[in-house]
Symmetry: C2
Subunit: 408 residues, 2 copies
């Protein structure tokens, strides 16, 4: 059960001019489920992307990077679920190429204008024939508005599809932004997340779009962790179809900040959705580290807390065993940290200061915060002005169950 | 149930001349269990120690470091279980001092000749009055040979006491080494482990003893992980009573290597015992990373695998979902790693090479290795001569259960 998150209503997901989506059931891993998704993009669309830093990155990630360099005119994204096509060597690379060629041929474009994505089990061969066989149905199914079906077709251990929309007005023109994401385990993104796609019809220069991408990903997908495992397939793609009919936005435009912030809002919502639907999650936890010397040390502390199995199991049990949080702060890797200056808050409740329990703290207060499904942990380092926020979930029996059972 | 580890037979644990041990039931946290341990040391004993790098280190750790600097004549170690006296601020510091003073007064020594240790729940006040009240009984109980009772008195979530003995002959004299350890969760030592004590009657210079300590800890307690959490209280103490009657051993002595290796053997056995009794463990996993450029990168890779919740849950399920191991190798932080050169073995079975599944690999072979309770994972980086080994356990329902229930 996701934490305070339900599947988006299909009508709440706004079509983006220049984007059509089609899905198919290709029997890739499981019969009777949507498992292939094709996103077609109108001519003139800009695409920016960031990908996993994992050295064992998947074949499709390698090809995406290559195609984004080779072509400034990406016209289709192809996603399959079931198999990650990672740890598949040269054969996996050829399979990804074949899938791009097959889609390009059906759409009458160049194969370098296709970006391939895969998600699922690592180290097993991609059943590329099934994917190719499913493409005609996915193309026949193309519609502008079916973001919800598309979000469903890219799920793995996700329990619900994740997608969101916003509209803003720039130069008197309504701009639409719609995005979707998937991911539930192997979530500890480094420069990107499992899979996320955000599209807008805004008219924006490629340079400005790249800047928005970097800004948005650092505020969203780079701030989440489910289990501390960085995936082989993480990809976040930002698509601008340039069809909204206003003057081109550059980094100097008046509208740039508004567009950047709206896209970032969608990215944050999609990133948080991954955590809310984290494998086995029963709580959504915001870890906010404040008053650090720089953002790097704040992130170190926030991630030490967010990754600690001891902290995460205590949250699962709603047990205010808060010394575990201090222990994580202590091993986060800040050598000159003076623990006597640190304040720890659970929600609004001051738990610890001066290196020990706060005199005012009463366990009943901590218990009340722990009992809720949304929990804020605040660590005030009192040594600077920087801050960082990370979102994570708890660690439950179901996390073990899901990951012990996932493949078999 | 610990993995292939049973409680040591009391008679197998050899007394060390110059060391006596006494335990008491002081009702510190739970009635009717041994929870205070006093180790008395003969005059002329050398003591070397390493402690946690956690910045939120416990009050007793701070005092141990201070006393080891102030006094070269440590005469007693005092250990309590139930409360860690970490995250307890100035009051905790005073409590630890008071316990040293009380023991010193009973033994007619200086309080700086006492080293205090605590283990248990963090952030709750140490019931120092109960500890002090238990000291006379622990002193009355002093005997040379009761390492097993002592090992029991320092347990927390441990399911069995952990201790081991060795004898070697140097200069025609028999030298005895006996040690004990405790720890089961919050185990990811950095320079030391939860609590471990090794004593020998060898006659060895303090400098040489320090060298042995550093060598032994790097081969043992610094090579294990249960959950990736570095404790606030980790301490490893090496005690030499100098009573074996041979000439003093220095780093240049013929006997130095033999003594160092025997002590290291005990340390490795005690460190592995902590993993075998890791919270919820059902498998004992050796991760061996070979042919790296240096030991640091080998350790990074080994720990990435050993810490990965996805890898650890797959081991729990005996599921050869081995792509998760490659993913962990990929995010371990070696920027110029060429994954096409890596070989992955499970036991003797070649699983992956050339970036994908080995042509010879058959799942039945991998399954057979995974079904065993002792599993060797070998990663051959093929880029140098260095190697590193880390021991870890799997991640089971019981890990979650133990840590969700521990405090309440």
């Amino acid at each position: 059960m996701p934490v305070n998150l339900s599947a988006p209503d299909a009508t709440s997901l706004l079509p983006v001019a220049g984007v059509t989506l089609g899905v198919a059931e290709a029997n890739i891993r499981t019969a009777g489920r949507k498992d292939v998704m094709v996103m077609q993009l109108a001519e003139g669309t800009h695409v920016s992307g960031v990908f996993t830093q994992n050295r064992f990155c998947a074949a499709p990630v390698t090809i995406c990077k290559k195609h984004l360099t080779a072509s400034s005119d990406i016209r289709a994204l192809l996603v399959n679920t079931g198999f990650a096509n990672a740890g598949t060597g040269e054969a996996g690379y050829q399979h990804a190429i074949q899938s791009c060629e097959a889609l390009a041929s059906l759409l009458n474009i160049d194969s370098q204008q296709v970006l391939p994505f895969s998600t699922g089990v690592i180290l097993e061969p991609l059943p590329v024939d099934k994917i190719i066989a499913g493409l005609p149905a996915a193309i026949a199914n193309q519609q502008a508005g079916q973001w919800r079906d598309a979000a469903e077709a890219i799920m793995t251990t996700d329990t619900i599809p994740k997608a969101a929309s916003r509209q803003i007005t720039i130069d008197g023109r309504i701009i639409t932004i719609t995005g979707m994401s998937k991911g539930s385990g192997m979530i500890h993104p480094n420069m990107a997340t499992m899979l996320a796609y955000v599209a807008t019809d805004a008219h924006i220069s490629k340079t400005a779009l790249d800047a928005v991408l970097e800004y948005a990903v650092n505020q969203s997908f780079n701030c989440i962790s489910v289990d501390g495992d960085t995936s082989t397939n993480d990809s976040f793609m930002l698509v601008a179809t340039n069809q909204a009919g206003h003057a081109e936005i550059t980094e100097d435009s008046a509208g740039f900040a508004a567009l950047r912030d709206a896209i970032t809002e969608i990215a944050v919502e999609l990133a948080q959705a991954i955590v809310r639907d984290g494998e086995g999650a029963t709580k959504f936890i915001t870890v906010q580290v404040e008053a650090g010397q720089d953002q790097t040390e704040c992130r170190k502390v926030a991630y030490a807390i967010a990754r600690s199995p001891l902290v995460k199991t205590a949250f699962f049990a709603s047990d205010p065993n808060l010394g575990r949080i201090l222990a994580a702060v202590g091993y986060a890797g800040i050598d000159d940290l003076d623990v006597n200056n640190i304040a720890l808050y659970l929600g609004d409740v001051l738990v610890s200061e001066g290196g020990g329990l706060a005199a005012s703290y009463q366990e009943a207060q901590g218990q009340a915060v722990m009992d809720a499904s949304e929990i804020l942990v605040r660590v005030v380092l009192n040594r600077g002005q920087a801050q960082s926020t990370v979102w994570t979930c708890d660690f439950s029996y179901d996390y073990v169950k899901i990951n012990a059972d996932y493949r078999s």
